[in-house]
Homo-oligomer: 171 residues x 2
C-alpha cells in the first residue's frame, strides 16, 4: 500500500473551497482551504486544518479568531489566485478585493462568496504539518443566497485549477 494507492482511495471525499481570513492591527491575511467543517451543533463549532508554514497560521496563533467564506461557482482562477498559490507576507491580498470587517475583526470577502462565519478558537490540536483549530461560531450570515457552492471537485474539473506541489489541499 503506497501513498499513491492511499490517495486514490481518499480522492472521493467531498470538500468545498473557502477563503479563510485572519486579522490583527499588524496584519491581515487570507488563504484558500478546503477543510472547514462543523463538528458540533450546540454550541455551533467548526474545525479547520491550517498548514503551520502559512502566514494565516502565524496570525491565527496570535488572534485566535478566523472567518471562513464558501466560494461560489462564479469564482475565477485569477480571483482564487489572489488568495491562493502565494504567501501574503509581501503582498496585500485585500488591495483589490471588496470586503467588510466582521464583528470579530476578520475580513469578510464579499465577491464570489455565498456566506460567512466568524469563530473564536476554543481548542487547537497539533496534527503534524498542520494545526486543527476548533472555533465556536460567534457570527454567521448569508451574502448571496443564489450562489452555488464551489466544490473541490468542480474546481478541478470545471475551473481546471491546479494544486501546487506540497499544498496539501491549501493554496
Amino acid at each position: 500500500m503506497t501513498l499513491a494507492d492511499i490517495n486514490q482511495g481518499l480522492q472521493y471525499i467531498t470538500y468545498g473551497l473557502y477563503i479563510l481570513t485572519v486579522a490583527d492591527a499588524e496584519q491581515k491575511n487570507g488563504m484558500i482551504v478546503n477543510t472547514v467543517f462543523q463538528v458540533t451543533a450546540t454550541p455551533p463549532c467548526v474545525a479547520i486544518s491550517v498548514n503551520k508554514n502559512s502566514l494565516t497560521h502565524e496570525v491565527l496563533l496570535r488572534t485566535k479568531r478566523f472567518a471562513a467564506m464558501p466560494l461560489d461557482q462564479t469564482a475565477t482562477l485569477p480571483f482564487i489566485g489572489i488568495f491562493g498559490f502565494r504567501t501574503g507576507r509581501h503582498f496585500d491580498k485585500f488591495a483589490k478585493v471588496p470586503f467588510t470587517t466582521g464583528k470579530l475583526g476578520c475580513p469578510i470577502v464579499c465577491a464570489h462568496t455565498i456566506s460567512y462565519l466568524e469563530a473564536e478558537v476554543q481548542q487547537m490540536l497539533d496534527v503534524g504539518t498542520h494545526t486543527l483549530f476548533v472555533g465556536e461560531v460567534k457570527d454567521a450570515g448569508v451574502l448571496n443566497a443564489a450562489g452555488l457552492p464551489l466544490t473541490y471537485e468542480y474546481y478541478h474539473h470545471v475551473i481546471k485549477g491546479k494544486v501546487p506541489a506540497g499544498a496539501t489541499h491549501q493554496f
Copy 2:
C-alpha cells in the same frame, strides 16, 4: 445573532455522506456521518467528528480503528436508513448488507459506496457533544470508480432525506 441565524450562514459548507464503521470481537457497528476530512497529506490523516451518545463512539474508544466509505448517488433512503436513523445496540446493521473485512478489521461496505479508507486513531479531542478523532490512514482503495459522490446537498434536495432532531448531521 440567534442559533437559527448562525445555521443559515453555516448551511453552505459542503459535505459528503459516509458510512463510518467500527468492529471488535464483541460488536460491529456503522453509522452515517458527514464529517470525514483529510487534515494532513504526509502522513495521510483524516478527522471525523462522532457523537458521544452513539454506539460507534463507544466501540471506537475501545478499538481506536475505523473505516469510512463515501456513499454514491445510487444510495436509496432505505439503504441509508440501515445505518442511519437508529442505533445498532439492538439491531445488526450488517445482516443484509454486503461487506468484507478490512486489514484493520473494520467492515468495508461494498454496496452504494465508491471507496474506503481504514485508519488508526492517533489523537482525540473532546469537543463537547462530540469527539474529534484524528486517524492515520493505513489502507484505502477504490470500490467503484464510476460512482458519483453523494453530497449532503444531494441527499437533501434529490433523495429528500430528513435529518432527525438532535442528529447534528449524524443519523
